[in-house]
């Protein structure tokens, strides 16, 4: 079984708004799939449907070889969900938290104890196992939230914005833990609107907007989609003397943006007229203080594909 998740024609509406609009995708065994999109893109709706707590209006979903509609309970045994909001009990110890949730997945006795230990070690909380989460920092609570989801060693782990509002150290720890889980054979669906996290850990990325998949592929493939253009950024003195129109005659220029102290000019890669651009700037009496070409990032890809920034 190479496809851990197969989603076909998935649809879900709330009143008249389509939260998920006929999407199709697969998740391959052992990969980390990044689900990227702004708030309201439909990521959480998809996750709640995959987690079997939300019923889709239409579509077919197969998870771990089981039809989600008919065998939801079996599917639940094989998946671990890290919800966006912390889902832990504050008044009992970290170990009791993980142990209780793991016990709901048919683990008991020594096997349960070993799994709890392993999960707490993975998230770096084993030395805090006897402490109550109410004494933890936000980052530690997030890590415990993950431990509770993975203690039963699920084949598929679904994470919904697991790093929201935490310190960089905890974030790094979480991202490292996810890589370890992947190395142990787990398949991960990672939903976020933090571009840099997706770039760091994902094997494949799905970009969503307004309930639809607008792009899908590895980060290299996605960058390739907008890579037929190059953008140069200039920091200038006397920038006020510059106007957009002066670049309109230069062949290949597709976009000009002038701000208070910076001008960014995009042009087709095949017609790289950088010399002409520089001449045009100098002719206007501006002094170039600094110049660089902007690398294509996923942010650029997203902006290009959706026309808006990821955190809009």
């Amino acid at each position: 079984m190479n496809n851990i998740v197969i989603v076909k024609n998935l649809e879900k509406s709330y009143d008249t708004k389509k939260a998920v609009d006929g999407i199709n995708f697969v998740v391959n065994k052992g990969e980390i799939l990044g689900l990227l999109g702004p708030n309201g893109a439909g990521k959480s709706t998809i996750i709640n449907i995959l987690a079997t707590i939300l019923t889709p209006d239409n579509g077919e979903i197969t998870i771990l070889g089981h039809d989600l509609k008919k065998e939801g309970k079996i599917v639940k045994l094989g998946i671990g969900i890290v919800p966006q909001d912390l889902a832990i009990y504050e008044e009992i110890t970290a170990e009791q938290n993980v142990s209780f949730f793991a016990s709901l997945y048919k683990l008991k006795g020594k096997q349960l104890k070993d799994h709890v230990k392993e999960a707490l070690e993975l998230v770096g909380l084993y030395d805090k196992k006897d402490d109550k989460p109410k004494t933890f920092s936000g980052g530690m609570k997030r890590r415990l939230n993950i431990a509770c989801a993975i203690a039963h060693s699920p084949q598929l782990i679904i994470m919904d914005e697991p790093t929201v509002g935490i310190d960089p150290q905890s974030r790094n720890h979480i991202l490292e833990s996810i890589k370890i889980l992947k190395n142990r054979g787990a398949t991960v669906i990672y939903s976020t609107h933090y571009m840099e996290e997706v770039e760091e850990i994902s094997d494949r990325i799905i970009i969503m907007d307004e309930g639809k998949i607008i792009a899908e592929g590895t980060k290299e493939e996605l960058k390739q989609k907008v890579n037929d253009e190059v953008t140069y950024s200039f920091h200038l003195n006397n920038i006020k003397k510059l106007n957009k129109e002066q670049f309109s005659g230069i062949e290949g220029v597709t976009k000009v943006n002038i701000t208070e102290n910076e001008a960014s000019i995009t042009m087709e890669k095949s017609k790289d007229n950088l010399n002409e651009i520089i001449s045009s700037i100098i002719e206007k009496g501006c002094k170039i203080e600094n110049m660089n070409s902007i690398e294509t990032s996923l942010e650029t890809v997203f902006l290009e594909l959706t026309g808006k920034k990821l955190r809009d």
Binding site: I53, K73, K76, I81, D85, A87, Y89, E90, L104, Y105
Partner: protein, 247 residues
């Protein structure tokens, strides 16, 4: 088996909350003591002392107010977060809300039975003498009804605060017409007639009949009223509880 695990876990969560523990153990005894003491001069004529009267009525009142403990067990902020993860586990939606209801009901059964026994044999409150088991069962039915009301309002209103705010209205209406704080008959015949709409009125009347007249004529009816009320609440839970709204 997950259902039993969750019930046990929820029960332990209640026990860990000192406020809920006090409300369901010491507070009923304090209320009986205060009401009995304040009104003792009004109960000098007959064989029923103020402590006997308020012993029964305050226990029925406490059993109804277990609804607040049920809402707390289900949706109190600190436990709701953890509870929400259960939705993702291989547990059905019925098991989720029933586990909250049942754990609260078990607490009520244990706690109120001990209070009744203590009241009868230590504080000499008349809870029926040899008929005390029937009074225990009656209080038990009321607490099941209370737990069901609490759970139902949580399912409908999706929050503890909302449920607690609304729950007091029907309970206070039941309590008023049930004559738990003072006999409704003293307010005239019309009010007395209306009072028969309240299931609490039937339960209270039944309890006094069993205790003082050894009369079981409306006992079965009182039990059925409590059970039917509970079943209706549970059916409403089944219809209104949506796991995705709990997350």
């Amino acid at each position: 088996m997950n259902f039993i695990k969750i019930v046990k876990f929820d029960f332990m969560n209640i026990i860990r909350n000192p406020m809920l523990l006090i409300v369901n153990t010491v507070l009923p005894l304090i209320m009986i003591g205060i009401m009995g003491f304040v009104t003792k001069n009004s109960y000098t004529a007959g064989s029923v002392s103020s402590y006997d009267y308020y012993g029964v009525t305050m226990m029925i009142f406490t059993a109804l107010m277990i609804a607040i403990t049920a809402t707390n067990t289900f949706m109190e902020e600190t436990v709701k977060r953890g509870n929400s993860r259960i939705v993702f586990a291989p547990v059905s939606k019925t098991e989720i809300y029933l586990s909250k209801l049942l754990s609260t009901y078990i607490l009520a059964t244990i706690s109120y039975s001990i209070i009744l026994l203590l009241g009868q044999f230590v504080f000499n409150i008349n809870f029926g003498g040899k008929n005390i088991v029937y009074i225990m069962l009656l209080i038990n039915i009321v607490s099941l009804f209370g737990c069901s009301i609490g759970t139902m309002f949580c399912c409908i209103l999706k929050s503890e605060e909302g449920a607690n705010a609304v729950i007091n209205i029907p309970i206070m209406v039941f309590v008023f017409f049930g004559g738990l704080f003072f006999p409704v008959a003293s307010l005239g015949k019309v009010v007395e007639r209306i009072s028969y709409v309240s299931p609490v009125k039937w339960i209270t009347e039944c309890a006094f009949k069993v205790i003082y007249d050894n009369d079981f004529s409306i006992y079965l009816l009182a039990v059925i009223i409590g059970l039917v009320g509970s079943i209706i609440c549970i059916l409403i839970c089944q219809i209104t509880f949506k796991p995705e709204e709990y997350v």
